[in-house]
Subunit: 170 residues, 2 copies
């Protein structure tokens, strides 16, 4: 996983995601817990993002994860909100709620304190498309701001990785 230095790297990555989504005709959605809107906001920095960005859900509380995204309440009660399967269901929920082709999600512990028995820096990213869904697990170093930034960059990279193979659909 690359560790970009600054916000300009993040903006460049967002520009690549939007361009790739436009080229593939793929609409996008997000479901964000610890990043709380940073992924969607970074994508929307790109002029013309509205051609592909449908929107997203900031599911900061477990209640919003269940109510708006349809994450299984029993799963949340059993494993807490920082979990790979929760991330996968968040992405599925965002894709469904926003009517998008491809969705990414992020849930994790930004700190300063551990949460639900998970260490600070533990982050799960979910993805969902017409081909299926899944999640990735990460351990990010840094403070609250650094962990949220690293999570945003990794989510944009995850979107990019799902868009690059779509060249043949152009």
């Amino acid at each position: 996983m690359t560790q970009p230095q600054d916000a300009s790297t993040c903006a460049e990555l967002a520009g690549r995601v939007i361009a790739a989504a436009k080229a593939a005709g793929t609409s996008l959605a997000t479901a964000e817990s610890l990043t709380a809107g940073m992924i969607a906001a970074t994508l929307a920095e790109v002029p013309g993002a509205s051609a592909v960005l449908q929107g997203g859900v900031v599911s900061y509380s477990s209640s919003v994860k269940a109510r708006v995204l349809g994450v299984d309440p029993a799963l949340l009660a059993e494993r807490g909100s920082v979990d790979g399967e929760v991330a996968r269901q968040m992405a599925e929920g965002a894709r469904r709620a926003c009517g998008a082709d491809l969705a990414v999600s992020a849930t994790g512990v930004a700190g300063p304190d551990a949460h639900d028995g998970k260490d600070v820096g533990t982050v799960f990213l979910g993805f969902a498309s017409g081909s299926g869904s899944g999640f990735t697990e990460h351990r990010f170093a840094g403070d609250r701001a650094g962990i949220r930034f690293s999570s945003t960059v990794a989510a944009l990279e995850l979107l990019a990785s799902h868009l690059v193979p779509s060249k043949h659909t152009a």
Copy 2:
């Protein structure tokens, strides 16, 4: 309307909103179009924000405004998405979807191009609480990034203005 110079002013304002919401026992939600998550993400910069921040909806497309936030599709068809009544309904929808006490929303034209017959810099902010709902209208100067930043600051100020009178409920 004040025009803060930098991100630190924004973070200070977010800190005041979270502290006031905690003191008043008021939970918060957002509905964001042109800011696309910046308001919620700024609130979540504050450690412990999860005590009051429920979440929000990034309703970048009209479809998400109608589907997830329950904005009247006939209103969207008639007036477009940059409109005061749309902003008010977005805030109502976020409050309902997230089960929050107080919600703020933002819809407007960040540019670079005019949209739905509205000039770049035209922004409507909505608010909704148990006491009622409404909206404010703004004309912000600057480029795409500046207009989105000014909208975020104004939304945080709007939240603060609704929280200060709540001292007696502590």
